[in-house]
């Protein structure tokens, strides 16, 4: 009668403090340049070494340029931050996949792609989207810098056990509707704070039918409804994905591990603090209109009218629409866009790029739109080039850039100008997130690709040859798995 979460949690409790949190052991710790320097500084102040450097993996992603990565970083503070990471890793014997390394990329893309992320593990990183790794049936969550310091010093954290929620998504998705639409739909239903205090397990036939990369998109955005993390029980799809990857177990050890991982599921009679049921067939292509990820509607829908918003929420709602330059009650379809950003730890993997390429092949972007495609990792970029996806993008007028977090958070030069509308495959539409006064509309890669071609928000279902895209997609995924 245990949940998947309980099974992993219990194996990682080192000590339970009476009336307080547990001392919780961490198997893998990812670090990056932005949230780690102060942690290393803290260790130095206390005269402490890194306790288990072989369990730490570093990359540079948040604050790196996505053009000319072979040149020194132009911006002085960014250059210094990346240099500090290199110095801290070399001093402490931590493996670093920095700029120029063939494994460099967004931390939540490279972990799974290298086979570092595995079922049953506990994984943390100083980044809230660490929940991505939960797609493998791992307990993975974001932490602050003081906690980064704790894990570097002791490989442990003080954690209180969260409440548990299960979200069941059952049925067949409509053609053109994908993982991003599922998660945007869920968040729009339960709000940006609807899962605060909870860890979420995603289950149901629609989740089981998703590829690993699609599952990562779902778990990635758990934090956007307040959940500390999200996870999905591992299955054959998971094992197929992991098999053969660089840091995955090989040979007999792999088979032993699969036997062990196969026990990681929620028992039939286990209970949750909260349970939600969602009909997959009811989900339409989704888009956000406001300044938190809970403000989502179908692309065919209307922004709520003032009368539909609770009185206490009206000041925030009106502030959001004022910021976005949108009207209460208006349709979102045909809203013009100026920029298209395809990237981020939510949607920058090879399947995302393949899906976009399959749709835009032979088409050209609208003149009024600028399109940035930022691959999640060097490996994704190289794979895209090997498959000729770069040529498709070039012909369509899309810019294929180099890996990093880029315009998801606008920390580097990739900022959306003030007042401009950007349809973005990233995870946050907060005020100023993509640059001061930039206006973000969150959507799936397909909906973003369509906006790139038409220059406005539209319904992808009207543009797809149903079976063809689905079949092609499935075939390509099978090819990838077999490689």
């Amino acid at each position: 009668m245990k949940t998947l979460f309980d099974k992993i949690w219990e194996k990682h409790v080192v000590q339970q403090i009476a009336g307080g949190p547990s001392v919780f052991y961490i198997d893998k710790h990812f670090i990056h340049e932005v949230t780690s320097p102060q942690a290393f500084q803290g260790l130095e102040k206390r005269g402490l070494p890194v306790f288990r450097p072989q369990q730490v993996v570093a990359t540079a992603d948040h604050n790196v340029p996505t053009l000319n990565q072979h040149l020194p970083i132009r911006e002085e503070l960014s250059r210094r931050q990346v240099a500090t990471l290199i110095e801290n890793c070399s001093k402490n014997n931590i493996e670093l996949y920095g700029l120029g390394h063939p494994f460099q990329g967004i931390v939540h893309v490279i972990g799974p792609e290298l086979g570092i992320t595995q079922p049953g593990m506990t994984i943390v990183c100083g980044d809230s989207h660490t929940s991505t790794h939960g797609a493998f049936g791992a307990i993975a969550f974001g932490i602050g810098t003081s906690e980064v310091e704790m894990v570097l010093a002791t490989q442990c954290l003080m954690q209180s056990k969260p409440k548990l929620m299960r979200i069941n998504v059952d049925g067949m998705l409509q053609n053109g509707v994908g993982a991003k639409d599922i998660i945007l739909y869920i968040i729009s239903q339960i709000s940006a704070s609807g899962a605060t205090g909870y860890f979420v397990e995603y289950a149901g036939s629609a989740i089981r039918a998703l590829s690993m990369e699609a599952r990562m998109t779902i778990c990635n955005m758990s934090i956007e409804m307040g959940a500390r993390g999200g996870l999905i029980a591992p299955d054959q799809t998971t094992f197929n994905y992991i098999k053969g990857r660089l840091f995955a177990p090989h040979g007999e050890l792999f088979d032993e591990k699969v036997a062990e991982w196969s026990q990681l599921f929620t028992d039939a009679d286990a209970t949750f603090d909260k349970e939600i049921f969602i009909d997959a067939a009811a989900i339409e292509p989704m888009i956000t209109y406001g300044t938190n990820p809970g403000m989502g509607i179908p692309v065919t829908g209307h922004i709520p009218a003032l009368s539909e918003v609770e009185a206490s929420e009206r000041p925030s709602f009106e502030k959001a629409l004022h910021y976005m330059g949108l009207q209460p009650g208006a349709a979102i379809k045909d809203q013009k866009v100026d920029y298209v950003f395809i990237g981020s730890c939510t949607n920058s993997r090879i399947e995302d790029l393949r899906q976009v390429a399959a749709f835009v092949k032979g088409k050209h972007k609208a003149d009024s739109v600028e399109v940035w495609v930022v691959p999640g990792s060097k490996q994704v970029e190289n794979q895209a080039r090997a498959e000729g996806i770069d040529k498709i993008f070039e012909a369509a007028g899309f810019q294929l850039r180099q890996p990093g977090c880029s315009a998801c958070l606008g920390m580097n030069e990739d900022k959306i100008p003030a007042g401009k509308y950007c349809i973005s495959t990233s995870n946050r539409n907060f005020e100023g997130r993509q640059g001061p006064n930039a206006r973000t509309l969150l959507a799936s890669p397909l909906t973003a690709a369509l906006a790139a071609i038409t220059g406005k928000v539209d319904d992808i279902r009207n543009y797809l040859e149903p079976v063809v895209i689905n079949e092609r997609w499935r075939m390509e995924n099978e090819i990838l798995v077999n490689q």
Binding site: G19, V34, P37, N63, G144, S146, T154, R228
Partner: protein, 197 residues
């Protein structure tokens, strides 16, 4: 860390819900490699027009000299979004010791406690009372007492209790942090690692 126990202060009310950490401290100010100096960019884009310190937005409360104090009061779901601890550093560095809201995002709550910035969660009704009373009289003093776990407005005869786990309470009152504790049980951690193999 410097222990905290009792805070008595006027408040700064930010009557907005779902304040995310990108608003508290925008990403472009996360390039520092030390913990200091984030306070000057607290709520940067709500405080200043066109990113210009010479153009304060008059309608934002931090620019209103009437509201000063060590207690920040904000709408529900405060600190959602990014895990950046810089948000807690910025609030603490600006001079706040307490944030009051009806609901906190989990990571922000932990980050705050790790920096001895106390998140005090009250009911929505109590929160609205604080907003109403301090809007009428900005000089209203609010008392936050950690030993008794109470928040009160003596002038209005209002009081409420708040939750904090016993372990964290001990930490705050004595100036201990989690690393001090974790280091003290290093043998147990090593034993756990051995047992797992």
């Amino acid at each position: 860390m410097k222990a905290i126990s009792h805070i008595s202060s006027t408040v700064v009310p930010v009557k907005m819900e779902n304040i995310d950490t990108d608003q508290i401290i925008p990403a472009r100010f996360l390039k520092a490699t030390s913990r200091d100096g984030f306070g000057k960019n607290l709520f940067r884009d709500w405080r200043f027009e066109n990113d210009d310190e010479n153009q304060p937005r008059k309608d934002f409360v931090l620019n209103n000299p009437v509201y000063r104090g060590k207690i920040l009061v904000a709408g529900k779901n405060f600190g959602c979004g990014s895990s950046r601890e810089h948000a807690a550093w910025a609030i603490k560095d600006f001079g706040f010791d307490v944030v009051v809201s009806s609901f906190f995002a989990d990571i922000f709550r932990n980050n705050s406690l790790n920096n001895f910035l106390l998140p005090v969660q009250v009911t929505e009704a109590f929160l609205q009372q604080i907003f109403a009373i301090t809007e009428k009289d900005p000089a209203t003093v609010v008392e936050v007492d950690i030993p008794s776990q109470t928040i009160s407005i003596p002038s209005a005869g209002l009081s409420a209790s708040f939750d904090i786990n016993a372990y964290k309470k001990t930490c705050l009152l004595n100036g201990y942090d989690d690393i001090d504790y974790l280091l003290s049980i290093r043998k147990e951690i090593e034993q756990y690692e051995t047992n797992r193999r």
